[in-house]
Structure formats: C-alpha cells, structure tokens
C-alpha cells in the first residue's frame, strides 16, 4: 500500500470515528475482548437508546462500516465468523425494562437488558417470561438473535411463540416496529419472526415485547434411566402421548445410555396427581424429585471455554420419530459425544471433543446431519475451534436460500450487518 493511500485510509478512519462519536457518546477502540469469533473489530459503539442506535447505524452506513451487533456477548462466537467487523454495536447500554403490565401478562424491555433482569421484574407479580436462560447473563436481544431455547419449549414454545412486538433499527438507520403490546394481533407482517434467529444479519433489535405466563405453584421432576436408543425412543413416545402434560421432556445421553426426565408444573395438587401418573407411565425404575437434575437446561459443553478449548457444539433438530435413529448415529460417531436436550420437542444439543481431527469432525457432522435430514430436521454447528469451523459447513444446506438472500438484500443491500455469519454466507 502506498503512503498516500495509507494516509487517506487513516483520514477516512478518523472521519468515520468522528461520525460515530457524534452519533453516540460512547465510542472506544476495540480490544481483544471485543473479538467476534476471532475477527478483530476496530471500534465499539455503546448506544443507550433506539435513537442512538439509529444514529450509529446512519454513521456506519455513511462510512461504509461493517457492523456486528452484540448484546452481552455470551454467544458472540456462535455461527460462522463474520467476514469483517469494523464496529461492534454493543447494546448493553440499552438495559431498561420498559413495561410490565401484569394484568395483561405482557412485558417489554430494551434489547440489552439481561433476560434474568426482566425475569426478576415480572417474578414480583408471580409471572415469568417462559424462555429458559440457557446461557447465564444473556441479553434479550441476543436471545432473540440466536433463538436459544431450553427444556420449557415443550409446553410454552420458544421466543417465536412469545415475542409479540419488536423495534428494530435497519442497516440504513431507519427505525421500524412491528407487532405491538397485545398478544392477539394480525395487523401487518410479523417482522419479529424474521429477526428471531437471524444472528444480527438483518437489523439491530432495540426493544422487544413479550407475552408472559403465570409462574406455576409447583414443579416436580420424574426421571427414568434409559439403556439404549430404542428405550429412550419408546419412553419419550409414551410420555408425549400420555396425559401427564409435561412441561419439559429432557434427555441426558452419553456413551450409549442416558436419563429421561419429565418436568411437571402447575397447581400443587395437579402436579402431585400427574407425578403419580408419570411414575406409572415410566415404570418401576422411575423416580420423582422436587429438584431439577444436575445440568438441567444447560448445554452439554463448558460455556466458559474459548478459542481452541471449545468443544464442537451442535444443535440437532428432528421429527420425534427420528429420536432412536439420531441416538444410534450419535453412538456410532466414533468419538465420544455428549447429548442433552428436549427429546419431547425434537431439539437436542450435542458436543464432541474440540481436538477431534478436523476431517473426522466434519465427517461426524455430515453423518449426523444426514440422519437429522432424513427425519425432517437439521444440524447446525453452533460453536467450535476455529480450525474445525473452517473445515466444515457450519450451517449446512438450507432450503429457500435464494428467498433468504432476497430478504437480506432488501434489508441490508450493502451487506454491512455481520456479513458471512449466517446461512449460505449471508
């Protein structure tokens, strides 16, 4: 690079930084702590309102900066690494719970609010947002962007069933909202659905409204050991077709055997009755407890692991009739795989050692992915050491990719929002 070009780049960088600083009071140089899955951004902007996010996005657009939105950064390494990151838009300063209308069973918060902080507010009225905190400290925005879900999805669904209104800032800085603050509402397109699970590639979510559920009076857990894939499958089927109305149906699995645990929730007397029913359905080896088993609702990997200490973390989805096949394929992987997740919903998480040979890891992923696909589902590698991610297809084949690209092109025509992090290189 010639000196003139280098100095013009420096001038442009300085101009871009000034523009960001005018947009939002807090702009800092990025440090190693701001790496986005190994990609070093230049700057971090910390807006504190939707209006500031809008100004930041306008400034970024004017200077052609690539933006990676970040909530609390708990899942910033998930997905594929972005192609580039000029500025991280950190939404942790948007941390206000905006509304809790207890009588209407709805609550809203800014995107950087921790899920746990919102839960604390609504718990005061005996209510809850029925989204499990699968990663401690996660923000509302990050939970939406990564579409995380835990055991409770069997009964109350996922973010997509609970988000009723959303405010987003587009790549060009335009602020838009969709939905509203009432649960029943069919006016206009449901933009909330599009940003759920979009990994920050479509728009920056700044505010969200949710429907709430009453906190149940009582919970109980009924566990049964399962000796092989066929038994895990049969017991899961017995439960989902029974009248125990399970709030969760979780399977914990490794080395060819595991434990199936149901969670029952509701009024105390009802839970008591259904616990007896569940014990009957699951046979003599089943036991009941009022406490959740170890690891409940946690992914089968160490959340604190970074860099090459990461395991190869996967999310598998399949039709319920595929459970036995999936477990059999896991057992035949040739590497030790830990698996935990919602057998009752057909969404489980699995991990294999991070030092698995890259080619072998790729082959395991392909085989498991083929099994999931055979049962109408998918496999996504959520996280893995960099070398493993480079050596395999993180997202896998995705139907309707052409339409997804057209959606991306409309919302972010210059591809400045977390480019390359999502399916098909979006």
């Amino acid at each position: 690079m010639s000196e003139t070009r280098a100095s013009s780049r420096a001038t442009e960088n300085a101009a871009a930084r000034r523009a960001l600083e005018e947009a939002c009071g807090r702009v800092e140089d990025a440090t190693e702590a701001d790496l986005v899955d190994g990609v070093q951004p230049d700057l971090v902007a910390r807006p504190t309102s939707t209006a500031e996010v809008s100004e930041v996005m306008r400034a970024a657009a004017a200077h052609g900066l690539v933006v990676v939105p970040r909530g609390r950064g708990t899942k910033i390494t998930w997905g594929a690494p972005p192609a580039r990151a000029d500025v991280v838009v950190d939404t942790s300063g948007l941390d206000q719970v905006l509304e809790h209308a207890a009588g209407d069973l709805v609550a809203g918060a800014q995107a950087g609010t921790r899920l746990a902080a919102l839960q604390e507010v609504v718990a005061g009225a005996g209510q809850r947002l029925a989204i499990d905190e699968t990663v401690p400290g996660a923000s509302i925005g990050g939970t939406i962007a990564a579409a995380t879900s835990g055991p409770g999805r069997v009964a109350t669904g996922t973010v997509r069933d609970l988000l009723i209104g959303v405010t987003v800032v587009r790549a060009d800085g335009v602020v838009a909202k969709a939905g509203g603050r009432v649960v029943k509402n069919v006016a206009g397109y449901d933009l909330g659905k599009l940003v759920i699970g979009s990994f920050g590639t479509l728009a920056v979510v700044t505010e969200a409204m949710f429907r709430l559920h009453p906190e149940p009076d009582a919970r109980s857990y009924v566990s049964v050991p399962v000796a092989d894939p066929a038994e895990a499958h049969r017991r899961t089927q017995d439960v989902v077709h029974s009248q125990v109305v399970a709030g969760a149906v979780e399977l914990d699995w490794s080395a060819g055997a595991g434990t199936l645990t149901l969670m029952l929730q509701g009024v105390a007397r009802g839970v008591e009755g259904r616990t007896s029913t569940a014990l009957r359905v699951l046979g003599d080896s089943a036991t009941a407890s009022t406490r959740a088993p170890e690891g409940w609702g946690r992914y089968p990997w160490d959340l604190g692991a970074t860099g090459d200490d990461r395991r190869v973390d996967m999310k598998l989805a399949f039709a319920l009739s595929g459970l036995s096949d999936v477990l059999t394929a896991v057992d035949a992987a040739g590497v030790p795989v830990r698996l935990r997740g919602s057998a009752g919903a057909g969404v489980v998480y699995a991990s294999m050692p991070g030092d698995t040979d890259v080619a072998q890891a790729g082959a395991v992923v392909e085989r498991l992915r083929a099994t999931c696909a055979k049962h109408g589902g998918s496999l996504v590698v959520l996280d893995a050491p960099a070398a493993v991610k480079r050596g395999l297809d993180v997202w896998g084949p995705v139907p309707a990719l052409d339409l997804m690209r057209r959606v991306k092109d409309q919302f972010d025509p210059d591809h400045r929002l977390a480019p390359g992090r999502f399916v098909g290189g979006i």
């Binding site: 594929a80 192609a83 009588g103 709805v106 996922t158 997509r160 987003v168 587009r170 335009v174 602020v175 838009a176 603050r181 009432v182 029943k184 509402n185 069919v186 006016a187 206009g188 397109y189 449901d190 933009l191 659905k193 759920i196 979009s198 906190e215 009076d217 989902v240 109305v245 509701g266 009024v267 007397r269 009802g270 009755g273 259904r274 029913t277 989805a317 009739s321 969404v347 109408g376 589902g377 297809d393 997202w395 896998g396 084949p397 995705v398 309707a400 052409d402 339409l403 997804m404 959606v407 991306k408 092109d409 409309q410 591809h415 480019p419 390359g420 999502f422 399916v423 098909g424 290189g425």
Partner: protein, 518 residues
C-alpha cells in the same frame, strides 16, 4: 371503511359508501385483456378444463369472500388440482405480469380474497387431501384446501386435534387460516395458526416452489415460514401445510356465568387471569348480544343478565378440577348471580351454541350490521366498553358486544338499517371510532380477521411510514412485481426498485472472497 358487513337479506354493493381506493386497488382501472388471454392460453395447457372458468356469469360466483360488501369480478378463475398445476398458474401470471389472488373457502372477513378485475383468482377447493398423518411426530401434512375441522376429525382416532378453531372452522380452509394467521376462541391458551404450523410447501410469486420449515422445529436460516403466516396472500401461495397436532385433553369443563353488567364480568375475567389460571377460553357477550342469541338459537342464558361469560378449562383432570373450582369462586366473588356448569357434551354444546352463532344471530335484531374486530389490552376492557356505550348513546347506533375477553379481542357488532337513509354511514362512523379506541388504548386494528382490503386504510393509524416501508421490504423480496394479492394489507405499495430476479452465478460476498459457500 371497516368491519364486515352482514345482513339477513343479501348484502349488496349499495351497503355503505364505496371505498375511494376501490378502483385502484382492485384492478378495475388497469385490466389488460391481452395479458389475461396469454395467461389463459398457458393455464389451459396445465389445468383440466373443468378447473378453468372464464365465462362472466360463472366468474361472478367468486366476486366476494366473507366480506360481501366488496365485490369485484375476477378476469379468470383457476381451480388447480395439485401443487404442480398451482405453481404453473402462478408462473404464467408472473411471466405475463398479471396479478393473482389465492382463495381457500372464501370465508375471510376482511376482503383478503377479494379478486382483481385485472387478475386471476386461484381457488384451492380441489386440493383437499390430508396427505400424511404422523401421530408419532405430532404432525399432519395437508393440502391448503382442507377444511380446518377435517384435520381434527382425521387425527382424532390418534388422540389428537388441530388447536386453532376459528368460528368458521366447519368451512374455512387451512390455506386460508395460514394466510390470515387465524385464531379462534381457544387461542388464549393455545395460540394462533403461526404457533401450529411448522412447515409449508410454498409457491413464491415468481412461480418457484420452495420448502419453508418442515416436520422438525427450528429450521436454520431466516424464519420465512413465520413471515408468510398471516401475510394475507401477499407473499405467495401454500400448496402443502405441515401442522402441529395437539393431544386431546383428558378433561374439558365449561361453565356459563351470568352477571348484572359487563363491568362485573370484566372484573371476573381479570381476577381469573390474576389468579394464574389460563383457561382455554373466556368469552363474553353483553345484553344486546344475549338478546340476539336468544332470538336466534334459544341458548336459554340466565334471565336478566347484562353480560355472560363462557369459560372453558381443559387439560389434565386433576388440574382442571382444582382450577375450575377457583374460577367458580372468582365468578361469584365478582358478582355472578347464576353459574351453570355443563355436565355433558350436549350441555357444553348448548352453552357454546349461543356464543358461536352470535354474529349471525344479530341478524334477528337488526336488518344489517358490521362485524368489527379490534384488540385492546385486557385490563382496558371496562373502560373501552364504557366508551363504546357512550359512542352508541351519542350516535344512536346500537352496538352488540361479543368477544374473546381473555385476550382482549373485541368483536363489536354495529347495527344499522340500510333502508334508513344515513344509517349505514352512521354505523361506519361508530365502527371506525371503535378502532380508534383500540389504537388509543395500545391495541390493534385486527386480532384475527386480518387487514385485507377493508382495513388497509387504517394501517397508518397503527404504524408509521417507516414501519410500513420496512414491512414492505419483505414484500419486495418475495414479490418485486407486486402481483401477489396486490392492494391488500398496505395502503400504498412500495416501489421495490430494481427487480432482482434470480441470482445467477456466485453471491457477491463469495465473489469478494469474504464468505465461503459449501
């Protein structure tokens, strides 16, 4: 214009004023006979003759949906037999630049399936197969023309049902339900169509067939399925729908409670929700709605009631028994003077009969009426009902209230007599003012009937230009030519700029070496 116009004679185009936007958004001003001829030629080669209707007299059969106030004769009606034929018809339209409108059973109440005078109406009535029942997976795959209730009937032997239950469920289609994100009396507990559809085979407005979602949950990529559900036919047409099946509950219990006024019934509703009980349904009817129901179907509701609540609980027997006792107590605590508990399915059916026939029943007490659909936060119920009563008194227009009290979804029935000059206009005014009340209280202009053509003009009262513009980015991605049910939902179409067409060759990111493609 707002609300569904019903009548106990025949609704005619003379009911109420003609909407100013009608000619533009219905295609009457821009018909291109040569383009229609081109499509007709293509369609005849794809669809058997009995599925192609082009004679004016037969076309008129399809001139309106459940909102009979609006009528437009389509240029052509096509009734394909399968997905291949349907996709072929859409492609023919796309290549000729001719608009198309998909129609299921035509029961929609917002004019969402109102035809275009310059376009093709694609009717799914011959695509009525339940293709696959997968009880083990808690799924069924059905064609779009399958009737809602027929899904539940087909899967009942397996111990399952399809939860969304719009009151037209005996005749409305799954494809129409998907387009409208239909709800029903039981969505308080079970949610709407969007929570019960996991996949769709989808014909995009350029005629491509793609798979959205599937049997399993959480398909990677943008949730395009979530975007198309409730898009009112503006993003393409479903040719197969994968629905989630729900376990039939062990126990269902229904009660009817009579109150002196809607205030007390509203307070009982709030108390039940505050107790942490989530009933399957809480429905309310006011005195005028009760009078209509008695005249029509004699449900024998409590004499002298100013309001009744129909409350249903379902689930595990232990739970239901306990919560039902709490509901009875809370009704009494809040002034219920009579409570009737259904002791068998016949009694349950009778309780529901009055509620489910309420819209039609209003025809017994008024020659004409508008069915409105709006949503308010549940806690605003007493205040909004008082405001509606005030509107009614000050205008002299009678309003009967029937609604899903649990989720604040109002269905005011605004009564008028077309034979009285000015009566229709006065009713329109009250109906519109009720929507303004919903917006003022932070609610929505539609909870389940959709925007369609009827409420497109109201969208700017709920959303600003940026909101609507952003929603239409989705429209531009799916339908840059603006041919899939144009004129519905949005008051003004967005110009999509350059029509992208299909991407050929490598993606720009891939070209720039910044993204890998596998």
């Amino acid at each position: 214009m707002s609300g569904t116009h019903g009548t106990n004679t025949t609704a005619g185009p003379g009911v109420g004023p003609t909407p100013p936007e009608a000619t533009e958004s219905t295609g009457q001003a821009v018909a291109r006979p040569d383009a229609i001829e081109a499509v007709l030629g293509r369609v005849r080669a794809i669809v058997p003759a009995e599925g192609v209707i082009s004679e004016h007299s037969r076309l008129r059969t399809y001139e309106c949906d459940g909102l009979a106030h609006y009528k437009v004769t389509p240029a052509l009606v096509v009734i394909p037999e399968d997905a291949r034929q349907l996709a072929g018809v859409v492609r023919a339209c796309a290549e000729a630049g001719v608009p198309f409108v998909a129609r299921g059973s035509g029961t929609g109440l917002s004019g969402g399936a109102l035809p275009r005078a310059d376009g093709v109406l694609i009717v799914t009535a011959r695509m009525r197969s339940v293709l696959d029942i997968r009880a083990e997976d808690q799924r069924a795959v059905v064609e779009p023309g399958v009737i809602n209730l027929d899904v539940s009937r087909a899967v009942a032997p397996h111990g399952y049902y399809y939860a969304p239950d719009p009151s037209s469920q005996q005749v409305c289609s799954i494809g129409g339900n998907l387009a409208e994100n239909s709800g029903g009396a039981h969505c308080l507990k079970y949610g709407f169509t969007t929570n019960h559809v996991t996949g769709a085979e989808w014909v995009s407005p350029d005629g491509d067939v793609v798979q959205l979602g599937g049997l399993a949950p959480d398909t990677p990529g943008y949730d395009l399925l979530g975007a198309v559900v409730g898009s009112e036919g503006t993003l393409g047409v479903a040719t197969k729908v994968t629905v989630r099946l729900t376990r039939l509950p062990e126990e269902v219990r229904t009660l009817l409670a009579g109150f002196a006024s809607t205030d007390e019934a509203g307070a009982a509703t709030s108390a039940i929700i505050a107790e942490g009980v989530v009933p399957a349904a809480i429905e309310m009817m006011d005195a005028l709605a009760i009078e209509a129901a008695e005249a029509a179907v004699q449900p024998n509701y409590p004499a002298g009631a100013g309001a009744v609540l129909v409350i249903e609980l379902d689930g595990a027997a232990d739970e239901v028994e306990h919560e039902f006792a709490a509901v009875e107590r809370l009704c009494r605590d809040n002034g219920a003077f009579e409570i009737r508990v259904a002791s068998d399915p016949t009694e349950r059916a009778l309780i529901w009969k009055g509620r489910k026939s309420a819209f039609a029943a209003v025809g017994r007490i008024s020659p004409d009426y508008i069915v409105q659909d709006g949503v308010i936060p549940r806690t605003a119920l007493p205040e909004v009902l008082r405001e509606i009563a005030h509107l009614s008194e000050s205008s002299g227009v009678r309003v009967a209230n029937v609604f899903h009290a649990g989720d604040g979804n109002l269905h005011p029935l605004v009564l008028f007599d077309e034979s009285v000059p000015g009566s229709g206009e006065a009713a329109e005014k009250v109906s519109g003012a009720i929507l303004d009340l919903c917006i003022k209280h932070g609610g929505s202009i539609t909870g389940e009937h959709g925007v369609g053509i009827d409420k497109a003009a109201y969208m700017p009262r709920m959303f600003n230009d940026e909101d609507l513009d952003t929603m239409q980015l989705v429209r531009c991605a799916f339908d840059p030519q603006n041919i899939s049910n144009p004129g519905k939902v949005f008051p003004t179409p967005r110009l999509c700029g350059e029509v992208p067409g299909k991407r050929k060759g490598v993606h720009p990111l891939q070209e720039a070496g910044v993204a890998e493609v596998f």
